[in-house]
């Protein structure tokens, strides 16, 4: 029997941690006007640095924790200095993608340093607990509650009653006016990132104590939930962040208590989507936030400038594309490729074609329509599962499977899109990320259909209906099949982007309000972009499933989405040639980096970060 009161205590404890993370998001959003994806990574580092202090340096827990939290604070400041400040004036999407890249770099570095496995976290209070009535209260619960309350109260007092705190709030409300009052805005930014690191670090230690374990990817779920909490509270309000954190904690705790812990994440992410859908300004989002450009601007209620538009000098970088005869020449060369490649490189060529298709799919929605999607691998997964399960169950030609997978991908994309099209800017990234995570947990937990973590095995080789049911078994055949699909997709997408539809997408991307004012049904057009993109991603998934003959949920996790996003940003958002170029480049890079094994993700992150910092419009230019 689940005791209600225990669940509440438990929820309050976890909720306090969410609140700390949410405050970090809110502060950074207010002052630096960006959503810091690396917040979760700082949280993870807090836990790991403390763990290192105890396990390797032999420090007692308290000094180790203080040292770990201090280091995390410093890292928070350093990240801003080294990576985010230099691109402040760049395209609006740049800092966001940069924090995403930083998160990947930090998380995968942690895997290298401390191993990808879960590690035990020292907890001297593990056995101390009391029973009050039916309720079970542990010492850790109380510690978390006490720490959380101390942090929250002191932070509130600091912001309300000190000169520096007031200056920080003033900077968040109006940096230019604050400057004219003599406030050093750059110093306030440093302070903000320090505070975010500090709160993240504290959260990491508390969660380490709570679960008595830490793991390198722990920053992803907790970061997301911290953001959910911030969003619940209206993103830039500190009291809102606190209330949002506590509410989310209690809600989650009750869900896992009464429905089972399997649903914990799914429910949390669904809550995020629901809030984004119904109240993008947050549960407590007040009208007053408008002045901050707060929830409204974040949620894209206020049409903002293009994601790719630069704040100051418009970037007029050269755009490189291939079309017409040169494109045909490249296609001929690509067709001839298997005659010079060995079996391994044929396989790599096939992967390059499949990921090119996926990158094309993403660049349609993220580039041309300006709706950055970070959950794209899930759509790829929907297609892969559709084709795999149909292929295993009955004997169907690949053409039919491609259409079926594409259709399912399009349906899933529209479902994600329904939430996303109402938003823009930073928040859409969160919405698509949450959609991706929900789909991933469906792959993982809908065991009757997807076979859960075991994956789907024995997917038959594709049989081509047009060739009289010819079954493809060799690598060259797979390559030509994927190339044919890619070429067709490129041709059709290219036509589409040059048509009225493509122009309308770009118009919405550049100035949604103006487009709507000109009579464009923006929502319908954006849903169309999602559908086209989902179809292409689903088709790519079908090719992928039949190439590998085995798929598992891990193939479609955030990291895969991230890789595709890297390809697209690298090639230049909205540029089809660039998408293919980026995909081929990264797939080949993966192969070349294979001997580096685990360093690969770090390398990916670095490539993306450097690309954003030095070529924010991609190697081939945004279109």
């Amino acid at each position: 029997m689940v005791d209600f009161f225990s669940q509440i205590i438990n929820g309050l404890a976890i909720g306090n941690v969410y609140a700390l993370l949410a405050i970090g998001f809110a502060l950074v959003f207010g002052v630096a006007n960006l959503i810091n994806f690396a917040q979760g990574s700082l949280f993870m580092l807090g836990g790991y640095l403390t763990f290192t202090g105890v396990s390797y340096l032999g420090l007692p827990l308290l000094p180790a924790a203080l040292l770990g939290i201090l280091l995390t604070t410093g890292i928070g400041v350093a990240l801003d200095w080294a990576c985010l400040r230099p691109i402040q004036r760049g395209p609006r999407i740049a800092p966001l993608l940069a924090t995403l890249a930083l998160a990947v770099i930090i998380d995968s570095t942690a895997e290298l340093v401390w191993s990808p496995n879960t590690q035990g976290f020292p907890n001297p209070m593990a056995d101390q607990a009391w029973t009050v009535g039916n309720a079970f209260i542990s010492a850790v619960d109380l510690l978390i509650l006490a720490t959380g309350i101390v942090c929250i109260v002191s932070l509130t007092l600091f912001l309300k009653y000190t000169w520096t705190g007031r200056a920080l709030r003033a900077t968040a409300m109006d940096p230019e006016a604050a400057q004219q009052m003599g406030v050093n805005v750059a110093a306030m930014r440093t302070l903000t990132f320090g505070l975010a690191g500090l709160l993240g670090g504290i959260g990491g230690v508390l969660i380490g104590l709570y679960y008595q374990s830490i793991w390198p990817t722990m920053g992803i779920p907790f970061g997301l939930k911290g953001f959910t909490a911030a969003l619940l509270g209206g993103i830039s309000s500190i009291p809102g962040a606190i209330a949002g954190g506590l509410l989310l904690g209690i809600f989650e705790s009750l869900t896992s208590g009464y429905l089972g812990s399997l649903y914990r994440n799914m429910v949390a992410y669904s809550l995020l989507l629901l809030v984004l859908f119904f109240r993008p300004q947050g549960l407590f989002g007040a009208r007053g936030l408008d002045a901050l450009g707060g929830a409204q601007a974040a949620a894209g209620m206020v049409p903002s400038t293009s994601l790719m538009a630069s704040a100051f000098s418009p970037v007029t970088s050269r755009i490189y594309t291939l079309a017409g005869w040169p494109a045909l020449a490249v296609l001929v060369l690509a067709v001839l490729y298997p005659f010079v490649a060995d079996r391994t490189w044929e396989h790599i060529g096939t992967l390059a074609a499949i990921f090119s298709l996926l990158a094309v799919s993403l660049t349609v929605v993220a580039g041309s329509a300006g709706q950055i999607s970070v959950g794209h691998a899930a759509l790829f997964g929907v297609g892969a599962y559709t084709a795999a399960l149909l292929g295993v169950a009955c004997d169907l030609p690949i053409e039919l499977l491609l259409v079926a997978a594409g259709t399912m991908g399009a349906i899933a994309a529209i479902a994600c899109g329904v939430v996303a099209v109402r938003l823009s800017g930073h928040v859409i990234v969160m919405a698509t990320l949450a959609s991706g995570l929900i789909l991933h947990s469906v792959f993982l937990s809908w065991i009757d259909v997807t076979r859960g973590p075991m994956g789907v095995r024995g997917i038959p080789p594709p049989s081509v209906g047009l060739l009289g049911g010819f079954s493809i078994t060799d690598n060259a055949g797979h390559y030509w099949l994927s190339l044919a699909v890619l070429a067709l997709a490129l041709f059709l997408t290219g036509r589409l982007l040059q048509s009225n539809v493509g122009r309308t997408w770009r118009a919405i991307r550049e100035d949604r309000l103006a487009a709507v004012a000109a009579g464009v049904p923006a929502v319908r057009y954006l849903l169309m972009a999602f559908a086209v993109s989902g179809f292409l991603a689903g088709a790519a998934g079908a090719l992928y499933a039949h190439l590998l003959a085995f798929i598992a949920p891990g193939d479609f996790f955030i990291l895969a989405s991230f890789i595709v996003l890297t390809m697209v940003v690298l090639g230049g958002l909205g540029n089809l040639t660039g998408a293919v170029f980026g995909a081929v480049l990264l797939i080949v890079l993966t192969e070349v980096l294979r001997e580096f094994g685990e360093f690969r993700m770090v390398a990916y992150g670095l490539v993306l970060l450097l690309a954003i910092m030095f070529r924010p419009n991609g190697l081939l230019g945004s279109k």
Partner: protein, 251 residues
């Protein structure tokens, strides 16, 4: 002229590749009130931004209170003794009136509680409307009250130079008069004022000297009274109709 509070010397300002000011020179002597007039996109707001260090000159030099401000951040310029009443008021909406006033005194934060309370009391005496709004969030005030707050906030600094950007913008005529009374009050207390304004009548009435900007060039400069009384200048640069309408308002 080293004794000047502001010396803008042959300055060119660019926004990206667009030039906003062409070879502009403006000076403000101690105790003087100088108005920079002009229509939309004439470059008058850019002139104030130049003095505040919000934009950097590509050519020419800017000296404020005896220092070349090249490379100084806006907060450092403020620390020289410059107070600012920004365009559109820019009060901190989610802070109370009291907190806004304290932000105005941010650079005096080490002077001790007593002196700041005294400064707050002075500011409330100058702008009595704010007294009853003292604990209210600034975002909930009316436009005119916000302008009063922005002025009081700048006064909290006890600035040696006060920069005022379009004080009458978006205000009802009744409030415009009160704002200008307040500006005249600050002038009487010996503050040096550089103001930018679109509607010329009020500005010329309070100013000692004025510059008229047109498309980023200085078209006319001179004594405020002389400019106000020269019909050809009024017609050519300041908009005759605006004048007559405003003047009939006053009668």
């Amino acid at each position: 002229m080293s004794g000047d509070v502001v010396t803008i010397d042959h300055v060119d300002i660019f926004y990206g590749s667009v030039q906003a000011l062409f070879d502009v020179s403006v000076r403000v002597a101690p105790g003087e009130t100088v108005a920079v007039l002009g229509g939309n996109a004439s470059g008058k707001s850019t002139t104030i931004k130049t003095v505040l260090g919000l934009v950097q000159a590509r050519r020419g030099s800017v000296r404020v209170l005896g220092r070349d401000i090249r490379g100084l951040a806006t907060s450092q310029v403020a620390a020289l003794g410059v107070g600012s009443i920004p365009e559109g008021r820019r009060v901190f909406p989610e802070m109370t009136v009291h907190e806004n006033l304290l932000m105005g005194a941010y650079l005096r934060r080490n002077e001790g509680r007593r002196r700041l309370e005294q400064a707050t009391e002075e500011a409330l005496a100058l702008f009595p409307d704010l007294r009853e709004r003292f604990g209210q969030l600034a975002g909930t005030l009316s436009g005119g009250e916000q302008q009063m707050l922005a002025m009081a906030r700048a006064w909290m600094r006890h600035p040696q130079l006060l920069c005022i950007d379009e004080p009458s913008m978006g205000l009802s005529p009744r409030f415009v008069e009160r704002i200008y009374d307040a500006i005249a009050g600050l002038k009487a207390r010996g503050v040096t004022i550089l103001m930018v304004e679109q509607s010329a009548t009020m500005a010329l009435a309070v100013a000692d000297r004025a510059y008229v900007l047109r498309s980023g060039h200085i078209a006319v400069e001179g004594e405020a009274a002389a400019l106000a009384n020269d019909p050809s200048i009024r017609r050519a640069y300041l908009g005759e109709r605006a004048f007559t309408e405003k003047e009939t308002d006053h009668v």
